[in-house]
């Protein structure tokens, strides 16, 4: 079974600093593999373990994205494909087009795995777009995947229901984080990851004469979160009393 996993190298939202004017300091910010992508990599490795095959990591990113690529390779993926372009400078459709072109070039794959959304933009558009561009079925928000023969049985976690759907391979699947617990690579795996093959592709070679694409984002500002941040410390009876009094003074306690 040949499985591709689409991952994204992102700015770490927990480390992202904002200046007093509310502007994010994206340059030089700490980066990481998008949070739920690890679940997608883990699921690919799990499926491979049961059926043999190959796990290929595909990403659209700047040279820095190699960090995320190496992490996925250290987890156990076999090789990587990096499309050298900045996803922040394009819209979801162009990212999906580039991923689809890279998947077509290196395919055919039996399954393309993604996470439900990236931890920076959280659009959730790229996985179904990849499905649409490649003419493949897409099953989103998977919390359990079983493959038998040429078919996948997937449990989908929706807002108010859980669906069990069947779709033929090849297909695109996005996963939610509760599907598994991503493994931590060992030191030896981390050291060996650098030796695994990593192919770099130019976007112009993948899609020649592509029309210009630009980000649809005009700007980003910090959320105004002006909270009072009054903190009470001391014995529970005292702090509880102070808290209840404060909340009553705010007029938010029922009378």
């Amino acid at each position: 079974m040949k499985i591709a996993v689409c991952v994204k190298h992102v700015v770490d939202e927990t480390e992202l600093k904002v200046d007093p004017g509310g502007n994010p300091q994206l340059k030089g910010a700490a980066t990481k593999m998008s949070a739920f992508d690890k679940n997608a990599v883990e699921e690919a490795l799990r499926l491979k373990a049961a059926r043999q095959g190959e796990v290929v990591i595909v990403t659209v990113g700047t040279p820095e994205a190699k960090k995320t690529m190496k992490e996925a390779l250290a987890m156990g993926a076999d090789r990587g494909v990096l499309v050298s372009a900045d996803p922040m400078a394009m819209d979801a459709r162009r990212t999906a087009e580039l991923l689809a072109a890279a998947l077509k070039k290196g395919g055919p794959y039996d399954m393309v795995l993604c996470s439900e959304g990236s931890s920076d933009m959280y659009s959730g558009l790229v996985p179904p777009m990849v499905g649409e561009i490649l003419g493949l079925p897409y099953v989103g928000y998977a919390r359990k995947i079983e493959v038998s023969g040429q078919a996948a049985k997937v449990e989908r976690a929706l807002e108010d229901s859980v669906e069990l759907v069947e779709a033929p391979t090849p297909l695109v699947v996005s996963v939610v984080s509760e599907i598994n617990e991503p493994r931590y690579p060992t030191l030896i795996q981390i050291m060996q990851a650098g030796k695994k093959p990593m192919e770099e592709l130019s976007p112009d070679a993948l899609i020649p004469d592509a029309p210009k694409s630009a980000s649809l984002v005009r700007g980003m500002k910090a959320q105004a979160m002006a909270r009072k941040r009054v903190v009470f410390e001391g014995p529970p009876e005292e702090t509880a009393k102070k808290l209840v009094e404060a909340l009553a003074a705010e007029g938010v306690l029922p009378r």
């Binding site: 558009l125 108010d160 700007g219 909270r227 009054v230 702090t239 509880a240 009393k241 306690l253």
Partner: protein
């Protein structure tokens, strides 16, 4: 400029919200709006014009077939803006439709309006730490964040039926289980007490629900408690991938304050937190905090609340 706006959602409860945004965008631009629905999703309530898409098989069980129907109809009627509810299935429908039509697409948009010939709006990014302003040239497809506009009242307009012919779907729905439904509606709750990892055992949730009921509020939780532990049904999960709430008072009990959780509570009027860890990020996002063990603080709060009533 006269624009044609479509409002669509495969979810009947979301459809009227999308209709409300479509209506205000169309009205401001002197245009018209059409509410588009699916034949097996129940009657459309709102809309100046209503169109119901029909196929040989029920469309609502397949986002793939639904997108096919929507895109085919859009090619015929050529709406400037297609608004879709940004549900989980809605994002697939919007994505596929946008690619089929060759249009730009953005999801989870709120506060959408039309200016300078662009559909503009905002969306939360970086787990809600930042707000991005987006602008899409027309024609476009935009998935609107659920729960950000009030529903449009029902209209007496009769829906027109539109037969789309056979629309094959490769994904087959085998089984659907409704998630366990509680009695609470967190989206509309005025007061919420939410539990996090600081609660050590499932049985100890009783402490949290006792406080909630003493205050006439609802019980919520952070993601680990519903998704990983399964202590509470998914509908109690507040945060980026769960429910967005806006109560008058939000009390976070034993919640560390991950950005993904805070993303769902931003619009609360007053936020209070109880946590043993003084450096928990939750205190940064709170108006009032108590550093202490919830197993001691909650009973003391209950006692205090009861004493005040007498």
């Amino acid at each position: 400029m006269s624009v044609k706006v479509w409002a669509f959602s495969e979810s009947p409860s979301v459809a009227n919200e999308v209709a409300s945004s479509a209506s205000s965008i169309a009205k401001a631009a002197g245009g018209s709006f059409v509410v588009v629905g699916l034949d097996d999703c129940g009657p459309l309530l709102a809309g100046d014009e209503k169109v119901v898409l029909k196929s040989d098989a029920p469309l609502s069980t397949s986002p793939e077939a639904t997108a096919d129907a929507l895109a085919r109809f859009a090619k015929e009627a050529n709406p400037d803006i297609v608004l879709v509810g940004s549900t989980r299935d809605g994002k697939e429908i919007a994505s596929r439709t946008a690619v089929k039509l060759g249009r730009p697409c953005v999801s989870e948009v709120f506060g959408a309006f039309l200016a300078d010939g662009m559909l503009q709006g905002k969306r939360n990014v970086f787990a809600g730490k930042l707000v991005a302003e987006v602008a899409l040239p027309l024609p476009c497809v935009v998935a609107l964040k659920v729960g950000t506009t009030s529903a449009l009242p029902a209209s007496a307009v009769k829906a027109e039926e539109k037969a789309m012919g056979p629309l094959p779907s490769r994904t087959k729905l085998v089984e659907m289980r409704e998630k366990q439904k509680g009695t609470v509606d967190l989206k509309g709750a005025k007061l919420i007490v939410a539990a996090g990892r600081g609660v050590k055992k499932k049985e100890d949730l009783a402490l949290v629900s006792e406080l909630a009921s003493a205050l006439g509020g609802a019980v919520g939780c952070s993601r680990p408690l519903s998704a990983d532990m399964g202590w509470l049904p998914e509908e109690h999960h507040i945060g980026l991938t769960g429910v967005t709430v806006h109560p008058d008072l939000y009390i976070a009990v034993g919640i560390s304050g991950q950005l993904q959780h805070v993303a769902g509570i931003k619009d609360s009027k007053v936020i209070a937190a109880v946590n043993t860890d003084k450096s928990a990020p939750m205190f940064e996002f709170s108006d009032y905090g108590v550093v202490g063990d919830l197993y001691a603080v909650l009973p003391a709060m209950l006692k205090e609340i009861k004493a005040r009533r007498q």
